[in-house]
Structure formats: structure tokens, C-alpha cells
Amino acid sequence: MAKRIDVENLSIFYGSFKAVEDVSMTIEPRSVTAFIGSSGCGKSTVLRTLNRMHEVVPGGRVEGKVLLDGTDLYGSSVDPVGVRRTVGMVFQRPNPFPTMTIYENVAAGLRLNGVKNKKRLDETVERSLRGANLWNEVKDRLDKPGAGLSGGQQQRLCIARAIAVEPQVLLMDEPCSALDPISTLAVEDLITELKPKYTIVIVTHNMQQAARVSDRTAFFNLSAQGKPGNLIEIDDTTKIFNNPTEKATEDYISGRFG
């Protein structure tokens, strides 16, 4: 079910501004890849090109290729809506639909796909909430508003919503930055549990988190203010944190800047 992602010579633009330049990398299935780097270096932007969410921003466009198991996501015959059904996303701030119940939040993706069968919806909601380690906390109040949960629960609800449609890839854009340490731990445990089934890409500002959850780490950096961001290197997480090839990476992870 998990798929492999190959990024080839990807440059990303906001209108005429080049935000990220010439990124090439391979993201392995059934693994966790972390994107680290200082603010504004384009790591979230790269993440958002992997499910074509970048284009939602007016003026957003890309050059280059993103191959999902060999199929170019930016091919002329590819529908962005279809891409987003295959590549799920969890955002920085928990964003459950405020007008929907917990149940409806998880079922939202299935309903978009036209699933009406009550039994199938029930099963998927339970399976997804169990998968997101949230079932025991909410099983008695599925008909309550999702916005009434705590921040950490809301974020796990969003993860449940994302995995309910059984995506091939799960993108996470700083999923713990708005959470307290205990909720963060819960989400990190969840990432480790999801790993055998999905290709997971996570953007994080927290280097300990990258070290804890990821198998591979990509380091992004800006050469100068106003210049596009670059991928400096991508390698096994242990190598990046212990013996990086590039001087800039070493400076960043040892806290000398950024």
C-alpha cells in the first residue's frame, strides 16, 4: 500500500519568486522521512508539493517532477484532487471541521468518496480512531463536536481523518508544534505505529523529534535571505545527526545557527 516518492529537479515558485531550487530526493516506502531546517527554508513548501497542496496558494507552481511509484504527480493527465486522495496530510494546527461531530470528521473523506454504507462507515471510523490511538478516549462521545477535544486529541482526530481514506503516503507539517509534551509523545508513538503501513514524511522544527521518529532526515537551508531554499543533504538519520557530510548540516544540528 505504501508508495515510493522520487523528487526530480523540483523548483517551487510563488508567482515569480523562486522559493525552493532544484530538489532531488528519494523517499522510501514504509519509512519515516523528516525534513529539518531553519524557518523559511522551504521544507514545508516542498512537503506541500508532494500532494499538490502548493497550488492552492494563488500563484503557486512548480517545475520538475514528483514521481509516486513512477507516475508523475504533475503530469498533464493527473487530477490534483485524485493526488490528494492518495497522499494524505496532517497540518501544523489541528483543524477538525468545527461543525462536524467526531464521527463525521473521521467519515468526511469517505463521504467525499461517495461511501454511504452505514456499516462500512462505522467500521472505518472505529478502525481509523483505533489506528490514531484515540478510540478509547472518544468512543462514548462520537456524536460530540470534534472541536471540543483537547489539542492533542484534535490532532490525533486529524490523523484518524487522514488515514480513514487509506492513503498511500502521509504528510505531516509540524504536527506537534501546537501540542504539549504528552500529546507530542502520543503522536510520535502513533507515527512509529503507522510506519509499517505508510510512507510518512514529517516536517519538524524539533531536532530531537526528527532523531526519535525518523529513519531518514533531509536538511534544507537558505544560502542567503531572499534566495531560494535548497536541499543540503538527505541521509540516514543516524548519519545526519552523528556524522553529516556537509558542514552546514553539522552547524545546524549542533545548534550553531538556525
Binding site: V81, R93, P98, V165
Partner: protein
């Protein structure tokens, strides 16, 4: 007692007077502002109450002298004693024209608001929004003139066609040209900017995170609007519709100009193509003839019904919004 064994001195250092909290300047401004805000609020409440009391006080004696059922009678004869007046025809004309206006204006207004906020390219969105707002600035009398001179003849063929093909339905029985139907459409145009402007405002405030949540699940644009924008904007749209309905119920001059009056004693008809009078247009038409207290009281009683009608409509809207509240915070 200190846990660490180090003695902790909890007493303030001796020899010092406890310092007084300084009284800063600006307290006066606080009091002035608080006072004037409270005054303004009180005045509004008092005004609404007084309007209600006035209507009741003037209407009750007239209703007491009424020889027919005030709510159910179709007669309106206040020129000679004994008074015989009832509001059934007025209620019907007012409610029907407003319903037609709402049925047309709310869906179209919401669609226009969605077009402006979600679909229109940026260079078009602002001018389009301003143009719709401009509709709200057109005076009622101009709508009335336009309705009489241009729009009524224009809708004539449509009315005739509806009358001849659907005339077997009582609602569409052929009657007159200057009908409730035409008034409803003109009212719809008049309230369209209210619905559009307020809906646009709430739609544009939909948090980007909600929209992205929907898109990231693989929603198409329309599905995104359905799952994120419309639920978020729903209470706002209901409020907009209620404000618009308030205007439609009370609109006077355009209705007075367009709607053809019925001869006294004409038979009851369900037809939308019938003439008639709304509360507001009846009162306006007769405003020059309030010569006896009883007569005036009869018209004020009609005004009271209109007041209660708008009040009930607003209360229902409040209840609908309250019930959704748990899901919007």
C-alpha cells in the same frame, strides 16, 4: 517551614511602610466611556419597549371596537362606525411577497457571495462586490418606479405563460399584471445585496486551515465549499436572510407603487397573480386619512401585527443559530 532546611523569611523587611497602589490617571475616561455605553444600550432597550407599548396602547381600543375577527376577517372598513377590519388579506400579501423574495434572493445571494469569495479571479472579485453593494444604495422609490414602468410589463409574458400552463393550480390562477408575484421579484432584487454582502463577509472569514483540511482529503472545489465554507458560514447566512426578510416584510414605497389594490369585497384567491395590499402599503396608502383615533388605531393594530411578525421571525432565527452553536466554536 522550608523543605530545604534553609529558613525562609516570609515577613516583609521591617521598617518599611506598605506602599499604596498608585491611583493612575485615566479612571475618569473609563467611567465616562462605560457610562455612555451603558446609556446607549439602555436607550435602545427603552425605545423598543416604548414602541411596543405605543403600538399596544393605540391598537387595543380599536381592536376592542372591531365588529369582526381582527386576525381572520378579510374586511377593511374603517371609514364609518361600526369599525369592521381584519388583517387576513394583509398577512397573506405580506407573507407571500416576502416568501417569494426569500426563495429567490437567498440562493442567488449565497451563490453570488460564493462566486465573489471562491471562484472569481482577484481582479474581478472587488468590482463585483462593490457593484452588488451599489444595489443596496438604490433608493426604494427608484425600485418602485422601475418596477411600475419597466419590470411589470417585462414580466407580463412570463405571468401570462405561467397562468395559461399552470393556471389549474390555485397559486397560478391568472389575475392581474401588477401582482404579488412581481412585487416578490422586485423585493428579491432589493434584498439581494443584504444577503450577498453579509454572506460574502462570513465566507471570506472561513479559516484557511478548514479549507485546506477539506482539500487535503481530496475534496473538489465544490466539495470543499460544502464541507468547510458553507457550514462555517451557515449562522451568518441565516442572520443575513433574517435581516433581508425584515426589510422585505416592511418594504413600503416600492410595494405601494407596484401592487394593484383590490376592490373591497373581491373574492378570496390563492393566486400569486392577485393584487392586494401588504401591511406597510396599506398604511402608507391611507396615511393621509388618519382623522379619528379609532381609524388610526385600526392601522396601528395592523402595524402591530407586522411588528410581532418580524419579532417572531427573528426569534426563530436566534433559536436556529443557538442550536448550532456547540458546533461553531
Amino acid at each position: 517551614m522550608s523543605v530545604t532546611g534553609v529558613p525562609v523569611d516570609l515577613e516583609p523587611p521591617s521598617g518599611q511602610e506598605p506602599t499604596e497602589v498608585p491611583r493612575g490617571p485615566g479612571r475618569l475616561g473609563d467611567r465616562l466611556f462605560g457610562g455612555s455605553a451603558t446609556l446607549a444600550g439602555t436607550i435602545v432597550i427603552a425605545l423598543v419597549t416604548l414602541v411596543g407599548v405605543f403600538l399596544l396602547a393605540q391598537a387595543i381600543p380599536a381592536i376592542a371596537k372591531d365588529q369582526v375577527n381582527f386576525l381572520w376577517s378579510r374586511e377593511w372598513n374603517v371609514d364609518s362606525e361600526p369599525l369592521r377590519f381584519g388583517v387576513r388579506d394583509l398577512l397573506w400579501a405580506t407573507v407571500v411577497t416576502s416568501i417569494i423574495a426569500m426563495l429567490l434572493a437567498v440562493p442567488v445571494g449565497v451563490a453570488v457571495a460564493l462566486f465573489i469569495t471562491e471562484y472569481a479571479p482577484r481582479w474581478l472579485a472587488r468590482p463585483a462586490a462593490q457593484l452588488v453593494d451599489l444595489l443596496a444604495a438604490v433608493p426604494s422609490i427608484v425600485y418602485g418606479l422601475w418596477g411600475v414602468a419597466t419590470f411589470t410589463p417585462f414580466v407580463g409574458p412570463l405571468q401570462n405563460w405561467l397562468g395559461s400552463t399552470l393556471g389549474w393550480i390555485p397559486l397560478f390562477a391568472p389575475k392581474y399584471q401588477s401582482s404579488l408575484f412581481v412585487v416578490g421579484i422586485v423585493l428579491a432584487i432589493m434584498i439581494l445585496p443584504i444577503v450577498t454582502a453579509l454572506s460574502r463577509e462570513v465566507f471570506s472569514q472561513t479559516p484557511r486551515t478548514h479549507k485546506e483540511a477539506a482539500l487535503a482529503l481530496g475534496a473538489t472545489k465544490w466539495e470543499m465549499i460544502r464541507t468547510a465554507v458553507l457550514p462555517y458560514g451557515q449562522p451568518g447566512v441565516i442572520s443575513a436572510a433574517m435581516l433581508a426578510l425584515g426589510r422585505a416584510l416592511g418594504e413600503t414605497i416600492a410595494v405601494t407603487m407596484i401592487l394593484s389594490a383590490l376592490a373591497p369585497g373581491s373574492p378570496w384567491s390563492w393566486s400569486l397573480f392577485n393584487g392586494g395590499a401588504t401591511f406597510a402599503s396599506l398604511i402608507a396608502n391611507n396615511a393621509a386619512e388618519f382623522d379619528s383615533p379609532e381609524k388610526t388605531g385600526a392601522y396601528i393594530a395592523a402595524g402591530l401585527v407586522l411588528f410581532v411578525l418580524t419579532f417572531v421571525v427573528n426569534a426563530i432565527a436566534r433559536i436556529v443559530i443557538e442550536r448550532r452553536k456547540a458546533f461553531t466554536e
